[in-house]
Symmetry: C2
Subunit: 200 residues, 2 copies
């Protein structure tokens, strides 16, 4: 049995924090895992800025609800689900992802969750597990699944490496260059062709 694991942000939907950075006019919030490979460092930095600006979960959720998925992402994701099983492996948070999942017709999503105070202040976050993306691939392989994985960021490299097959998707130049061992697709058409090759 085959399974396709995809990163969410930058692959199927825009980067949530970049979108929120633009909407809130706080340029520092535009840093992502593309820029900062240390996720804990990145999140502490983000939560600190949110608190300094008195921004709470509902403020972010309002922006996310107005986001669209990337052009062609719904059609691509539907095409994958007709061919194989699809699980989205993301470092985002359940509290953020829901309106975007609705727009993608509810594919399965394994991600993290936030710690939120009663007044909506984000006080912290719970990583589902350390190296969650890679561990998920390992677990699927232990279930005798053949796994294909694709993503765009530093935090997708271990997942792609662990999978039976995979590639980068719309990765920034530095990652393409440093990890030229992986091919990099730039259109959903090409990514679907890679998946079809894997499924054959």
């Amino acid at each position: 049995m085959n399974i396709v694991c995809l990163d969410l942000e930058g692959v199927l939907v825009p980067e949530i924090w970049i979108t929120f950075s633009q909407a809130s006019g706080i340029p520092e919030l535009s840093r992502t895992t593309r820029d900062e490979p240390d996720y804990n460092k990145l999140m502490s930095f983000r939560l600190d800025i949110l608190n300094k600006n008195n921004l709470k979960l509902p403020d972010i959720q309002r922006v996310i609800s107005s986001m669209k998925v990337l052009p062609g992402a719904l059609e691509f994701s539907n095409a994958v689900r007709e061919r194989s099983q699809l699980i989205i492996l993301s470092d985002t948070f359940e509290e953020f992802a829901k309106p975007l999942m609705a727009k993608l017709a509810w594919p399965s999503l394994f991600c993290n969750s936030l710690k939120v105070a009663d007044d909506g202040t984000i006080t912290g976050y719970k990583l589902r597990q350390h190296n969650g993306k890679r561990e998920a691939i390992k677990a699927f392989k232990a279930m005798n699944m053949r796994v294909f994985a694709a993503g765009d960021s530093f935090n997708d490299l271990a997942m792609i490496r662990e999978a039976d097959s995979g590639c980068l998707f719309r990765a920034p130049d530095q990652i393409r260059k440093d990890y030229s061992i992986f091919s990099c697709m730039d259109t959903f058409e090409d990514l679907l062709a890679e998946i079809d090759k894997f499924l054959k």
Copy 2:
């Protein structure tokens, strides 16, 4: 992060083999895991009857394509997917399940696959793994998921037992009686209420 694991046949869709038994007029094919707990024994029995009657994969797929999901199953499955992650854990085969998954708006499905000769004769089957349902629950728990599981048959008991919480759904009298340690729901409304209790 929470995940709901559901059996497929008897829960969301009718029993495929019973439906095919009626369509083909072969009453012996109506035995299911409800009647025969030994899955390998049951499958050998089924494949033997298919071959004796010269019935091939396309004959079964034609019948499955005309099947409807159980009344309320699509709405129930959509409601679960809005609340949590849903993975269907089934002992059916990919080659059978596809038209039914389309009718359920493509939830994720972990199941088995068939060995099929070029002329469509089903020559055997590949179990994804031994005790596939229970092992999947173990793997999700190892991913730090909280798991709820529900099903109707002998082959669901280990899955329900392994999950953090769960119940039977429309189980036959004997299973209800022998496994009264598990509660048994009979409507999607009640099953959703159980899931809501778990998610709280």
